[in-house]
């Protein structure tokens, strides 16, 4: 019996967020195929609505990946991103969904290990709590 494939969406900033993905890929790292990345200029652009809509449209977990705080190219962007994620986490419990399904991460461009670990964490969250809606795909 195969595990249902976790559908994970990641909003990555075009700076260190995507740089961390690229370095991992260019270091031969492998990660779960069903991760879908959406690139944004800065994680400060991410709206709670984007995260919630993704969950509505089939995502089992959503992460936001930005530059390290205080190292954000746009100064406070990844701090804003974390606030949005925090806001959505609060709403999730009201919606009856586990807070862990939505998470904020930060990375620098020199880390090849961090992105695969982020994906692994989110895959584990989906394995632990099951798909959203409890249906098998």
């Amino acid at each position: 019996m195969t595990e249902p494939r976790p559908k994970i969406v990641g909003f990555c900033c075009e700076r260190h967020g995507m740089d961390a993905v690229v370095l991992a890929a260019r270091s031969g790292k492998q990660f779960e195929v069903s991760v879908r990345l959406v690139q944004v200029p800065c994680t400060g652009r991410v709206d709670g609505m984007h995260i919630l809509r993704s969950l509505e449209e089939g995502a089992d977990a959503v992460f936001v990946l930005g530059c390290l705080e205080k190292n954000c190219y746009y100064d406070t962007g990844s701090i804003e991103g974390r606030k949005r994620v925090g806001y959505v986490k609060q709403m999730l419990s009201e919606l009856g969904l586990e807070k862990e399904r939505v998470e904020m991460f930060n990375a620098a461009s020199s880390n090849s290990w961090v992105f695969p670990e982020i994906v692994a964490k989110m895959v584990e969250v989906v394995r632990k709590f099951g798909p959203v809606g409890g249906e098998k795909r």
């Binding site: 740089d19 260019r26 031969g28 390290l68 020199s110 880390n111 090849s112």
Partner: protein, 411 residues
Amino acid sequence: MMPILVIGGGPAGVTAAKSLVDKGGEVVLVEKTDSLGGRAREWTCKGLVECRNCGVCYAIDRAAELLTQPSVEVLLLSNVTFAQKSEEGFSVKIKSSPRYVTDDCIGCGKCVAVCPVDGKAVFPPTGSGQPRVHWIDRDKCLHFKKGKCSACAEICPTGAVDYEDRARNITRNVAAVVYATGIEPIEACEMNRLGCGRYPNVISSVDAEKTLNEKGRLARPSDGKAPKKIAIIQCVGSRSVKVGVEYCSKFCCKYATKISQLLLDIDPEVNLDFYFMDLRTLYEPQDEFKVWAKAKKTVKLIRSMPAVIFDRPDTGNLLVRVASETDLEIHESEYDLVILSVGMRPHDATGDIAKSLGINADQMGFAATTSDLEKSGVYVCGAVTQPMDIEETAVRAMAIASKIKTREGGT
């Protein structure tokens, strides 16, 4: 317009090179290893959520950026073999060793897995170095030594192995030279300082950084377990009359305190004892680390240098013996991992090429840039001139590049 030669592809070299081409210059950059980024390639980012200003990503970003600049000729696995003053600047000869792997390389690492050589003959790019292309060391490779074995070529999914690659001898006429050969770590482990090199669970900061950069966590070399009680010992090989060097390597406190903070981020229950003489956290209030340590109940700052470390072969743990500063008593503490913060020496400022460029290194190996040297068109840059961290290196490299641009050819 004649290009400027930059010798060294570390933070100093890549910053200087980028600054030089910022307003229409040309650069030839010669790097002796397989990739750009210098020592920072094998150093870790020291933040997990919040940036701790270590500068490592800056070096990697500049390295990656430099490869996208059309007016920079990057020569990796290359060495300057000859340099002579000419009318307009310098005539230089560069030996560019073959990489044997083309840009088709996707970094999958299958070649490394099948290489039969003990210690391998094919390697990924060093640490986080750029570009992300593997390379073969001809001196270790059976294909070249014995005329047989094409295991890597056969397994490579993109056919990126090219045994026909050849060394190139390149001649360039350059307007000026930036000498930025950087640093090497002090050989504390080779000297078996404080058990390093003898006891498996005493590692140098160089090892700790490398592991953290590759894996994001530390593991005890003896059994692979995560350390729970760590000692970090500062000034190993620096500020010493007997061992290593007399000067202070300047950046070790900065990096070691930030690694301490990273280790607590990774595992908030880790016990960490920080042994030091003076806290030289650069460009930060001197109390900041102390305030942080106080808030973390499991971190202790101990102003005393351990005299000796014993091992416990049964567990691989270490006993660190130190005289306390205040009560002059001997204390012994047990740790499952000890990290020695080793300092730095300047790298390669005393060789033939340096001499032919007119560079005079002092007896510690540092090569200061002087106004006479600058007038002759040679600029020494970065930590090969004196101890400095990545941020200071960047600033000085920008300043030197600006000086060259506005003197040599106008803007």
